[in-house]
C-alpha cells in the first residue's frame, strides 16, 4: 500500500485522472444503459472487448445529460467504432 512504511522499496503513487472526476448520476439518467452494459459483460464472461459498444452508448448518454464533458469519441479510444467522417472517406476504419 502507499502508506506502508517500507522506505526504499517502491510504493504506489496515485495519479489524478486525465479528465477529472465523473459527476455523480444522482437521477439515474443513464442507469438503463449501464444495466445493458453490465448484462453484456455477464453474458460475455466479463470480456471488455465484446462490450465496447455498450460502453460507448453509456458514455454518450452521460455526455448528453451533462454528466460528462463533451468530447469526440475518438479521443476516448473509440476510434475503431466510429464511422469515418465523409470528408475522410479514403481512410479505412480499423476492425
Amino acid at each position: 500500500m502507499s502508506t506502508a512504511m517500507n522506505f526504499g522499496s517502491k510504493s504506489f503513487k496515485p495519479r489524478a485522472p486525465d479528465k477529472g472526476a465523473f459527476p455523480l448520476d444522482h437521477f439515474g439518467e443513464c442507469k438503463a444503459l449501464k444495466e445493458t452494459f453490465m448484462k453484456c459483460l455477464r453474458n460475455n464472461n466479463f470480456d471488455n472487448s465484446l462490450c465496447r459498444l455498450q460502453s460507448k452508448d453509456y458514455l454518450e448518454c452521460r455526455m448528453d445529460n451533462q454528466l460528462m464533458a463533451k468530447e469526440p469519441l475518438t479521443k476516448l479510444g473509440f476510434k475503431d467504432m466510429m464511422d469515418p467522417p465523409p470528408s475522410q472517406a479514403d481512410t479505412d476504419p480499423k476492425p
Binding site: 500500500m1 502507499s2 517502491k10 510504493s11 504506489f12 503513487k13 496515485p14 495519479r15 489524478a16 485522472p17 486525465d18 479528465k19 477529472g20 472526476a21 465523473f22 455523480l24 448520476d25 444522482h26 439515474g28 442507469k31 449501464k34 452494459f37 453490465m38 459483460l41 464472461n45 466479463f46 470480456d47 471488455n48 472487448s49 465496447r52 460502453s55 453509456y58 458514455l59 452521460r62 460528462m68 475518438t74 479521443k75 476516448l76 479510444g77 473509440f78 476510434k79 480499423k94
Partner: protein, 292 residues
C-alpha cells in the same frame, strides 16, 4: 619561600652588614616573589619594591671585595633585577599584544563559524527546489512519470494478444457509513483498449454524507501503466440520505505494458478504491509532485 608579604623584613632591617654580598644577593632572591606580586594586587608590596630597589642601588657605594663567583653573580643579577622591574611592564605589553592577537584570532574564527552557520541555513532552504529539480531530472521515487501522454488515447492500438484480468476491490474507512462495492468482480481487458467499470455506493443513513476516495493499484509496477481517463476519485462526492448511485471508472492500460519485460509475468491487476468521509470545506491536494 615566603608567601606572606608581612614576613618580609622592613627596609630598615635589611642586613646591611658587608660581610658578603651573598646576603645582599639573598635579599633580592627573597624579594623575587614580591616583585611579581605587585603587578597583581599588592600596592604595599610595590612600595617595598621601590624601596628595596633604591636600597640596593643607593646602598653600598663601595662594594666589598667579592669572590670571583660572587662577582660573576653580582654582575649577572642586577641586570636581571632591572629586567625584573622592567619585565613587568614588558611582560604586560607582551601579554597585551598576545591578548590582542588572541582576540583578533578569535574574532576571525567566530566570523568564519557564523558565516558557515548562515551558509548552512541558506543551503537548507535552497535544498527544497534543488531536490525537486534533481528528482525530476533523475526520475527518482517515481516522480518523473512525464511519459504519460493524454493524446495517445486517440492513436493507441490494442494489443490483442495480451489479455489481462482487472479485479476490483472496494473499501471504506471505518467511520464511513456508505455501502460501497464494485458491480463486477473482474473484467478482462487488453492493453491499449479503453474499458469501463462500475462501482456502486449507497448512503443508508438519514443524513447526507460527503465522501472522497483514493485508489491503489497492485502490483505497484503495473500501476504506472494504469491510466484513468475519468473516475470518481479525489473529488468530493455527496450522497443524499438513502441514495444509491453508480460510479463509473473509465480507464485503459498503456500499450507499452506489453513491451515491458518486467511485466511479462503480470496477468492480474487489482484496482482498489477506498472511500473516506470528507469534512466540510476541506481541500485536499491532488496527488502529484508539483503543487499548482
Amino acid at each position: 619561600m615566603t608567601e606572606d608579604s608581612t614576613k618580609i623584613p622592613p627596609p630598615g632591617e635589611l642586613p646591611a652588614d658587608s660581610a658578603s654580598g651573598v646576603d645582599r644577593l639573598q635579599v633580592p632572591g627573597m624579594l623575587l616573589p614580591v616583585l611579581l606580586r605587585p603587578s597583581l594586587c599588592r600596592p604595599r608590596a610595590s612600595v617595598f619594591l621601590t624601596r628595596c630597589v633604591r636600597t640596593l642601588r643607593c646602598d653600598a657605594p663601595m662594594p666589598p671585595p667579592l669572590s670571583r663567583a660572587e662577582h660573576f653573580l653580582l654582575r649577572r643579577l642586577p641586570p636581571r633585577l632591572h629586567a625584573q622591574s622592567r619585565g613587568i611592564e614588558s611582560r604586560g605589553r607582551k601579554s597585551k599584544s598576545r591578548e590582542e592577537e588572541w582576540k583578533s584570532r578569535n574574532k576571525t574564527g567566530l566570523t568564519y563559524i557564523a558565516a558557515a552557520g548562515v551558509g548552512m541555513l541558506g543551503l537548507s532552504y535552497a535544498a527544497v527546489p534543488l531536490y525537486r529539480l534533481y528528482c525530476q531530472a533523475a526520475g527518482l521515487g517515481g516522480t518523473a512519470v512525464a511519459g504519460h501522454d493524454a493524446q495517445q488515447v486517440e492513436t493507441m492500438t490494442p494489443v490483442k494478444e495480451r489479455v489481462l484480468k482487472i479485479s476490483f476491490n472496494a473499501d471504506t474507512h471505518a467511520s464511513m457509513q456508505w455501502n460501497f462495492r464494485p458491480q463486477q468482480s473482474e473484467i478482462f481487458v487488453v492493453p491499449g483498449e479503453t474499458a469501463l467499470a462500475f462501482y456502486r455506493a449507497k448512503n443508508p443513513t438519514n443524513a447526507p454524507i460527503i465522501g472522497i476516495s483514493t485508489y491503489n493499484v497492485v502490483p505497484f509496477d503495473a500501476g504506472q501503466y494504469f491510466n484513468k481517463i475519468q473516475c470518481f476519485c479525489f473529488e468530493e462526492q455527496r450522497l443524499n440520505p438513502h441514495e444509491e448511485v453508480d460510479m463509473p471508472v473509465f480507464f485503459y492500460i498503456d500499450p507499452e505494458f506489453a513491451e515491458d519485460p518486467r511485466m511479462a509475468r503480470v496477468d492480474t491487476i487489482t484496482l482498489s478504491y477506498t472511500f473516506f468521509e470528507a469534512k466540510e470545506g476541506q481541500k485536499l491536494p491532488l496527488p502529484g509532485y508539483s503543487y499548482n
